[in-house]
Symmetry: D3
Subunit: 237 residues, 6 copies
């Protein structure tokens, strides 16, 4: 039995609220249960120095957490003076995931920066962030299309992410904090709307896991991501 009473393959209540920012070209407040992440997509005219003059754009992501998003207050990274290794690892993951479904040439010489800020955390912040970031990114591209700044298809597919893990010996989908902190195995999957795998990260927290177990987690992830992509489609329709 999961602490949340969910079935093994049951997502938390997921909502995707668009246009939550007065300023951003695209924005989405994504909730996976009590995990709430504000995603904003900002169009910037400059591209990174190494990309200049190549007629291609770039999509990048930054990730942050409010100090009291968590059970214990964490020190503010701006005050510490640097981003933790965990933060950098997550924002690199989000950026790679989004770029996997963007045609950077069709985007043209500009950069879209997607900020994913965790307002409240209850496990799975990186997967919620990727799922919501896609919506913000999509709306930013539509904003550009409305102004004829892009002509061709820029977004090639959906992208969404979910965590899976082995909790009390059972593979389960979409771990919340209570499960995550006790899971034997923790894994994150990022997949496209058409089922292609973009990122797999699996970590044994305690005992190593077997190939068979990993196959079960991957199976759960496919189910979960399918549902998330459906929710993305509903949110923009």
């Amino acid at each position: 039995m999961r602490p949340s009473k969910r079935a093994a393959d049951e997502l938390r209540a997921v909502t995707l609220e668009r246009s939550v920012s007065k300023h951003a070209e695209g924005s989405c407040l994504v909730k996976f249960g009590d995990t709430h992440v504000l995603c904003t997509a900002s169009l910037e005219e400059r591209v990174p120095p190494w990309l200049r003059g190549q007629q291609r754009g770039w999509v990048t992501a930054e990730y942050g957490m409010l100090p009291r998003a968590t059970g214990d207050r964490m020190r503010r990274e701006a005050s510490v003076g640097k981003q933790s290794g965990r933060t950098q690892e997550i924002q690199r993951l989000i950026g790679r995931s989004l770029r996997a479904v963007v045609d950077l040439e069709a985007l043209g010489e500009c950069q879209i920066s997607v900020d994913c800020d965790v307002i409240q955390a209850d496990g799975g912040t990186r997967t919620a962030a990727i799922t919501g970031a896609w919506v913000a990114l999509r709306d930013c591209i539509e904003w550009m299309r409305a102004r004829e700044m892009v002509k061709k298809q820029v977004l090639k597919d959906h992208i969404a992410a979910i965590s899976c893990g082995i909790y009390n010996g059972t593979p389960v989908l979409d771990l919340d904090y209570a499960e995550d902190s006790n899971a034997q195995t923790d894994s994150n999957f990022v997949m496209t709307g058409s089922g292609g795998i973009v990122e797999i990260q699996g970590t044994a927290e305690g005992a190593p896991f077997s190939e068979e177990e990993f196959g079960q987690l991957l199976g759960l992830a496919k189910t979960g991501i399918g549902r998330l992509v459906d929710l993305q489609k509903m949110s923009i329709s």
Copy 2:
């Protein structure tokens, strides 16, 4: 005529929503029109080193802004590696303002950290932050009282803040961004519920201002803060 059509002494729509955080001991989402600040009060058992063993507590504040809270995306301070002078100035102001109404001995040897994070900015973020921070701080102290961690009266009074300025030659209350960026004079007032002045900051952006003009701004501030304190009282009743 103000861009927002408000009367010279008219506040923006102000709301104070409590208990918006699953984790924090006290929290308040404060809105002054399109300026939205999430305030969380976190109880910490440690006090600053210089205060140890003195049977007194401390209240401190940190301030941050999400990168796309503003019209143009700003660089994330955690990524830059330091907090700007403006950020530090504001969080020092919030901390001083809150401490002015707290009996630190009655609080006992612990620290309350109030985080004020600007989700969306449209002028007046520091005054909204102070006004909302008081509510979060109050709920944190009530949380402690319910657990018999404090016995005596800790909060001595309300504290709230408002900006005033001279816009198009007219003294006006509660400047939004459109006014703030064009005001000749910008000032912030922090006052208690009983009308005592805790902080005054006045800056001539263009031409210096006269003593008479400053008196008019102070008059507006008294009116505005009176209304904010009423709203605080309603929010906690």
Copy 3:
């Protein structure tokens, strides 16, 4: 009775010694009693990036304190690796104050950097710095005029600053350290030679203050700044 035996409206002995630096285009060693600040104005040909190509100049200020300027040795900010919030707050104040009396278009596309370094501190370092910085800035502009680098009137007025506070229940002018560390209310005023207000900062250290008390402090400040402007005039005549 004040610790220094001064009357409530009496400044400390103030001196403004010009041309104390072999290298700087303008310089002034300002003393407010035992508070000694070395102000140097440096002409630099570059302007900040955001001002390039606009035919306008810029005046900026930096503030520092020698480690043993104070009663206890403080850690050197260059060694700590960053400037404190207090330092940044003060140098922003000095810069804004000076710019309030400078015609930046008449200055032309260059920057004057005014460094205010506290050699010895006994309270009121920021007000002494502003008062002396005006003299250094003025001499730098005269240096430019002698070389025909500026033609029009660049300095529009004098600028000077003074602190006031409520000490033992009495409003007093120009607090030294002994008074400052025991004052109920601490305020700083920056005004022009013609009596216009440029900056007001008032802080209740203990109990909030009333509008009437603040009016008394402002009255003292006007008297004090009038005298400081007279001393500036004498120093450059």
Copy 4:
């Protein structure tokens, strides 16, 4: 055909040279072809603050690269002033991988820090580092055992790592730089001597990959890691 003429499931020439450091308690110079990593294990008596007094030890890892380990000289991280996101991601991975086979209670209250410094890079530095780090760690623990600092079994198993990827449409084992920079999919596997999976990281560099392709990569990895564990066994026998 692979640039190196290797078969799809063929490792590069791998060597594990022990006791290469005069000072370290355990050390290993590991070579995967032209990728050379110096691993040193240092016994330290202190543990991280959050572990004090718990009768348990800790194993941590740091990763670095000499500036000219690569084809183009990279800026030295000590000179830049911070470690890149990539560096932090890798050293977190190495530390987690090693801890997966260590009985931290049997280690006792001390810390082993394993430094993995890339002397020369040609792809696969993180997998070489993990494979060599195990040897250095093992020798450090034997050093402790010889001094009766540990009594029980501390190392529970071997740990080794290898990369796999899809190069020119074919799944291949142990990518060198020429392959890595052109692979469609890049993945790293960390497994124990008994075949348990500890870490899986798979990233689509271009097109997403399928579940079937991922299964092929995992199969290759199992073969490769089996061989690496055999080499570890030979090196310490």
Copy 5:
């Protein structure tokens, strides 16, 4: 002919003004011509962590330069966020030089921090700093002796420093900036009152120098330091 018309073995006008700081336990404003350095010695009760409990004291030094001490304004190190290599090299030299004449056991478990801040620079700042720092240090120790904080002889000897160089082919003493920036060879010597050598630093700026030339520089240095020690004696008598 030297730019300053001095003879080859002639020092600039040197003055050592004591007790220039209201706060420091010992202080000296040293001038070598237009090079002015403020030296303050601060007694601190704490010693560095690695020295605790050893009944011995420590003497350390920090060096700084005001931004406009030089012909062109330099960036403030506190604003840059770190001390330059040159600054660190000089403050390490000053510290070592002072410790060479201090009996650290006789000092007892405390630390004296000597700050050397260059108010105005015209070459030879490090040698002026060492020469003045000795006077500040001596007065700090006398301050302690007057309070019976030290009993035994703490200062074992005088210490002073001077630069020498080869200018236009001629060995000269005490280079000012005009000479220093054109010298073929630049060297600094630190010696005790009894003629012992504590530090020698010689650098060929252009062509290497010969053993004979170096002998001439050393000879000049001995003369110059003898005079500086005489001046120190006069200043404290």
Copy 6:
């Protein structure tokens, strides 16, 4: 008797192994006994900003130490976030020493960066680094010559370095760590192949030293550097 049984004027076993890096234009692994330093010379097309457009090149050096190069593990500078004063002092010395024998105009508008990384330390790392760096630099220049990137003579002479010290009252050559940590006087000499002096650094660790003692150290250094230059010649022949 020296701990290593060497005669007073005897170097440790010195080897200079060239072409140890697959990537660098020039490289040398230098060993002075148990002190091992990897020197790589990297050709970079950019020059420092202040040198642009002057048809001259630049040679710079960086120095680092692996964390467990020493008896106790040191904190990694990249992790601390800055280079120590010692590191900066040494890399400035290496750079100056190399530039003393390079014709920067003949090099043309490019920069050679020489990285000296201490793999294992046993005293004398800076002198080994300089001696090996010359070989790496020389091979980098030959690499350029083979590609007709330089035409004229760029290297004007050999450069090598050695330490000397007074150990148990006797002047000795090439101190290892056991001697270095107990020497009364520590000095480093950098000289050219033709015997010119480029750098002299002498420090009294305990009692000051006399002019005569310093002469003896210089004599030893000349002998030692002569042998090092012979070894350099053999290594490149």
